[in-house]
């Protein structure tokens, strides 16, 4: 199930703006890779390029390769819909579908793909909600709207929804930035649980979080505002936070960033 990602010479543009320059890195299967770096350094843009969500924005362009176990997701005969089915995503702001119940939110991916077997959908809903540590809290109100949950619960609902389609890779774009410490802890525990089965890439502004949850960490930086973001280094998380190779990384993680 879990697959490896190879990013090769990735360059990303928004219209005329060159947002990310020459990024190459490997994301290991069954592990957590964290992207850290200052705002505007392109880490979210790189993340969105991995499942072809970058091109949804008008004027956005991609150069380079993203290989999923050796297959280029940008090859001309590849359907972006299939790529997104295989590489799931959780967003910064919890975004449950407002017209759907909690249960229907979780199985939305399957239902919209044409799955009609109610028993199967119920099973998937329970399994996904359990793996998102949300089942006990919502099992008695599965038919209530998704918007009736608290912020932290909504985010776990979105994770359950992403897990329900059984992707090979799970991308998380600052999933805890709008949550309180307790909900954050719940999601970090969940990530630790999920990495047994999934390849996870997480963008975070919280360096303690990166240190807690990830196996390897990539540090992105930009030379100046308006310049493209670049990958500074990618290393095993322990090494990045104790003895990074680059001075810029050390400055950033020790708060001496200017």
């Amino acid at each position: 199930m879990a697959k490896r990602l190879d990013i090769q010479d990735l360059n990303l543009h928004y219209g005329k703006f060159h947002a990310v320059q020459d990024v190459s890195l490997q994301v290991h299967a069954r592990g957590v890779t964290a992207f850290i770096g200052p705002s505007g350094c392109g880490k979210s843009t790189v993340l969105r390029a991995l499942n072809r969500m970058h091109e949804v924005i008008a004027g956005a362009r991609v150069e380079g390769k993203v290989l999923l176990d050796g297959e280029d997701v940008y090859a001309s005969n590849v359907d972006p819909v299939q790529v997104r089915r295989t590489i799931g995503m959780v967003f910064q702001r919890a975004n449950p579908f407002p017209t759907m119940s909690i249960r229907d939110n979780v199985v939305a991916g399957l239902k919209l793909a044409g799955e009609k077997n109610k028993k199967h959908l119920d099973e998937v809903a329970e399994r996904s909600l359990r793996s998102a540590n949300l089942w006990e809290e919502v099992k008695d109100r599965l038919n209530k709207p998704g918007g009736s949950l608290s912020g932290g619960q909504q985010q776990r609902l979105c994770i359950a929804r992403a897990v329900a389609v059984q992707p090979d890779v799970l991308l998380m774009d600052e999933p805890c930035s709008a949550l309180d410490p307790i909900s954050t802890l719940a999601i970090e525990d969940l990530i630790a649980e999920l990495k047994k089965d999934y390849t996870i890439v997480i963008v975070t502004h919280n360096m303690q979080q990166a240190a807690r949850v990830s196996d390897q960490t990539a540090f992105f930086n930009l030379r100046a505002v308006g310049e493209p973001g670049q990958l500074v280094e990618i290393e095993e998380t322990g090494k990045i936070f104790s003895n990074p190779n680059q001075k810029a990384t050390e400055d950033y993680i020790s708060g001496r960033f200017g």
């Binding site: 819909v81 995503m89 967003f91 017209t99 709207p145």
Partner: protein
């Protein structure tokens, strides 16, 4: 126990809070007065209209025949009869207009917001819709007369009226759809794409259901608006005092046309018929507006 401090020992500082000055009180009262007067000025004509309608139109409406009979065979001085023939016409004509313009308008709205973006076709369509929404209703009537009746050779009919009402309703539906789709957050579209749902299915199953309540409300309000249109009726269909269910042939009454025609009967009975029809029209439109509120509540996105 301490005794009270003498006044002379108090520090000589001014109090933090001061009384409201006369100038400010005066301004406040003037503003309040102006708002009250404006409100009354706006509401009085409305109440007056309703009073006039009720005082003159209520009596003919109270008879049971009003909702089940037509004016067929009534002499100028005969009281009685009913508005059923005009009700049938108004409902049939506006319903057919809605059936044509809603699918068309929603499709155009979806194209403009979800697919067109900044394309040439989209900006042309927006421009056309702008022009159409400013089209005087009598011109819409003339256009249908020139095309449907003169060029294609069809007879004057209720259907011709429906066609002209389509021209008036279409821009309303397009606008409503555009506005409602625009307020659906992109987050939801992206959430759907990220699950591997194709764009067309995202629109059909996520975006449209989210904006359904707003679109339906807009449609109902559009319907209420075209029900009162009069100018195209004068050009496109003859008035009948009997019941005609057939949209495609023969003269057909409708509420505005009834008001217009009965006004020409110079008797008290004719007056009663006219005011009765006017009150009926207002009631029907009010009912539709009420229905719009109900629909918007019923289909609104639920959070509990």
């Amino acid at each position: 126990m301490r005794t009270d401090t003498a006044d002379v020992e108090r520090p000589a500082t001014a109090p933090t809070f001061q009384h409201i000055g006369i100038g400010r009180r005066l301004k406040n009262h003037t503003a309040t007065g102006l708002f009250t007067v404006s409100f009354l000025v706006a509401v009085v004509p409305l109440l007056w209209v309703l009073y006039t309608l009720l005082s003159r139109g209520l009596v003919p409406m109270l008879s049971a025949d009003w909702w089940s009979h037509s004016f067929y065979g009534l002499l100028p001085n005969d009281f009685g009869g009913g508005i059923y023939h005009a009700l049938v016409g108004t409902i049939e004509q506006s319903f057919v207009a809605a059936v044509i313009s809603v699918p068309l308008g929603v499709t155009v709205g979806v194209f403009l917001i979800e697919y067109g973006k900044d394309s040439r076709l989209a900006s042309t369509a927006t421009f056309m819709v702008d022009i159409l929404s400013g089209l005087p209703s009598i011109v819409a009537g003339l256009f249908v007369y020139a095309l449907w009746i003169t060029t294609f050779g069809f007879p004057k009919s209720g259907f011709a009226v429906a066609l002209s009402l389509v021209l008036l309703m279409l821009p309303l539906v397009v606008r409503t759809t555009e506005t409602m789709l625009r307020i659906v957050p992109d987050d939801l579209r992206e959430a759907s794409y990220a699950l591997g749902v194709p764009k067309w299915k995202t629109i059909l199953k996520v975006v449209l259901p989210t904006s359904l309540s707003g679109i339906l409300t807009g449609v109902m309000l559009g319907l209420a608006r075209i029900m009162g249109e009069t100018a195209p009726l004068l050009i496109l269909v003859g008035y009948a005092r009997s019941i005609n269910f057939n949209l495609f042939s023969g003269p057909m009454a409708s509420l505005p046309l009834t008001i217009y025609t009965e006004r020409k009967t110079p008797t008290e009975a004719g007056d009663a018929r006219m005011w009765g029809a006017a009150l009926t029209l207002v009631l029907v439109i009010m009912l539709i507006n009420l229905l719009a509120t109900l629909i918007s509540r019923l289909f609104a996105v639920k959070t509990k």
